[in-house]
């Protein structure tokens, strides 16, 4: 009976990710006390592509860290696909959450080959096999790499350490999405790349997300990108979500309006030397 109600809830309630009153304070009780997340409430539908903006220290990465399990939250709850994952170990959450960091070095193992890196990431959902590398998977990897259009399909035996930052980030992107996670977290994943490469990686990102329909959250410093990509934009400041727009409201929003809104709401300028205004 309980299972049936669960099923009905699952069918009726369209939830992919829910943050309910999530709070996190670092160094509580000391002079260094810092509220990283202040009662965050957030609801994501399946297939949502949310862009997140905000100045340094606004809590953007903290939200990702909380969801991915880099730290445990102090209060509230995190539900992924209606399952409470608040107290789950980070590596267990990673089964359903793909995360891409800013640093291209972080997401790949440099002394393993491209193929081995992909095989490792794929072990989440691959068919059971004793050996990590096998023909069937290799064909699949080759196909995925061909779609990147970076010529990596002919370099599957190359060590990832020999690739450029952009190529590594592209491989990491594949690794994050290869097992079709329920949620994809992109933490300024193009910020460490040169503009041309960044553009290319962003294009690959949107292509993969559009095709796989993975629910995605993307932190960016480029306000133009934030408004242009995805279907929803969130602005954060001091551990709170101060703006959450989608649909018509979002499509009408301009960069100037966004900045004006910020200074009116927070009584200060959106100061961040890394924010790109154009």
């Amino acid at each position: 009976m309980l299972a049936l109600t669960d099923l009905i809830i699952k069918l009726v309630v369209n939830n992919m990710l829910d943050l309910i009153n999530v709070s996190k304070t670092f160094y509580a009780g000391t002079v260094n006390e810092r509220k990283a997340l202040n009662s965050i409430n957030l609801h994501l539908d399946p297939g949502d592509f949310v862009t997140i903006i905000g100045s340094n220290g606004a809590g953007k990465s903290s939200v990702f860290n909380a969801i991915a399990g880099a730290f445990y939250i102090d209060s509230g709850a995190i539900l992924l696909d209606n399952k409470n994952i608040s107290m789950m170990a980070d590596y267990k959450r990673a089964y359903d959450i793909g995360r891409l960091m800013q640093d291209p070095m972080k997401g790949t193992a440099p002394s393993l080959t491209i193929e081995e890196n992909l095989a490792l990431a794929y072990s989440r959902k691959a068919h059971k096999s004793l050996f990590a590398l096998n023909k069937r998977d290799s064909e699949y990897f080759r196909e995925l790499l061909t779609r990147l259009d970076l010529g990596l399909e002919s370099r599957m035996k190359t060590k990832v350490g020999n690739l450029s930052g952009g190529q590594r980030q592209a491989v990491t992107l594949l690794m994050c999405t290869i097992s079709l996670p329920k949620l994809l977290l992109l933490d300024e994943h193009t910020a460490a790349l040169d503009p041309a490469t960044a553009l290319k990686i962003l294009k690959i990102t949107t292509d993969i997300v559009a095709e796989s329909r993975i629910t995605t959250m993307m932190i960016t410093h480029d306000i133009k990108d934030a408004l242009a990509l995805g279907n929803r934009t969130i602005m954060m400041d001091e551990g709170e979500i101060i703006l959450d727009i989608k649909g018509e409201e979002r499509s009408k929003m301009t960069i100037e309006e966004l900045l004006t809104y910020y200074s009116r709401e927070r009584k200060k300028q959106l100061t961040d030397d890394r924010i790109l205004l154009a």
Partner: protein, 303 residues
């Protein structure tokens, strides 16, 4: 000739220890100092069981004991967040007492007169001049390398290799890096203990102090192997570590033979070999930097 064969035999038996060191130092990228203790542990276990008349069982008990020693270090490191070097030293120090206890409180026991796998092979196979022992050592070495090489091609083996390379990435791929670490440390120390057990049966005695300095000797073997074969795949790495061990023993035997060094210089030589090998890259960098500096200075003078 006897000297050469003796060194090859010793080299093959110590090669298994070098494989263990290769797993922890190179694949897992974790300096594991448990080795000094687990080598003696393997010796002690093997000595006691061999004396009771079970030379084969002795090897299995040693492997089991060694893997527990490695697991202990792994758990101290992963569950209690103790620095891996300190965790290894703690286990190694504790094992000294354990080893003495296993040997009934004596620091040195003799296996002379008991059946060992070497004496059994000598009596079974009729080959002249200690060839049987060499073949036995060689086949054990090949079997261990084969098992390890295949293991590191499995999904779990790949996870261990990746853990040594980029732990964050392993966790992001939904693999428990702590388990990989513990299993790798276990495997490494099982190899080391097996090597200790074989040395015990080969030399017909077990000494509580024979493990000291084994980390450096093993590392020297790994590095010698790498200078010859280069750093390539894991399989080649395992084979090269074994070759390094044999070469190390041959070099050592001849150095001692021609009275270049006294016998007690063994550990200092090992340490120097490792220092030279490890300092290679930074010395190269200093030379390169000096060259650039000189060039830059001449540019200034020209202006």
């Amino acid at each position: 000739m006897t000297l050469l064969i003796g060194s090859i035999q010793l080299g093959l038996l110590y090669a298994i220890m070098a494989l263990g060191i290769y797993i922890t130092f190179r694949i897992l990228n974790l300096p594991d100092l448990t080795v000094d203790g687990s080598f003696s542990l393997g010796m002690a276990c093997a000595a006691v069981v061999t004396i009771s008349g079970h030379p084969f069982l002795a090897l299995f008990i040693a492997i089991l004991a060694g893997s527990f020693a490695g697991l202990a270090t792994g758990l101290l490191h992963t569950k209690l967040s103790i620095h891996p070097i300190l965790a290894g030293i703690l286990v190694m120090t504790g094992l000294y007492t354990v080893n003495l206890a296993i040997m009934g409180g004596k620091g040195n026991i003799s296996v002379v007169g008991s059946k060992t796998i070497f004496s059994m092979v000598e009596s079974m196979v009729v080959v002249p001049g200690g060839m049987g022992e060499t073949l036995l050592a060689l086949s054990i070495c090949i079997i261990v390398i084969a098992i390890l090489a295949i293991s590191f091609k499995t999904r779990f083996g790949l996870a261990i290799r990746a853990t040594g390379d980029n732990e964050d990435m392993v966790r992001l791929s939904s693999i428990n890096a702590n388990v990989s670490k513990c299993i790798a440390l276990s495997t490494g120390n099982a190899c080391v203990a097996l090597s200790g057990a074989l040395i015990c049966q080969y030399q017909m005695f077990s000494d509580v102090g024979s493990g000291s300095g084994m980390v450096i000797i093993g590392l020297a073997s790994v590095i010698i192997g790498e200078t010859i074969f280069g750093r390539r795949s894991v399989t080649i790495g395992l084979v090269s570590a074994a070759f390094g061990s044999i070469l190390y023993r041959i070099i050592l035997a001849f150095a001692l033979k021609i009275d270049m060094f006294p016998a007690y210089a063994l550990k200092l030589i090992s340490a120097v070999i490792v220092i030279i090998a490890l300092s290679g890259p930074s010395i190269k960098a200093i030379i390169q930097q000096n060259k650039i500096r000189r060039e830059v200075q001449t540019v200034k003078k020209a202006q």
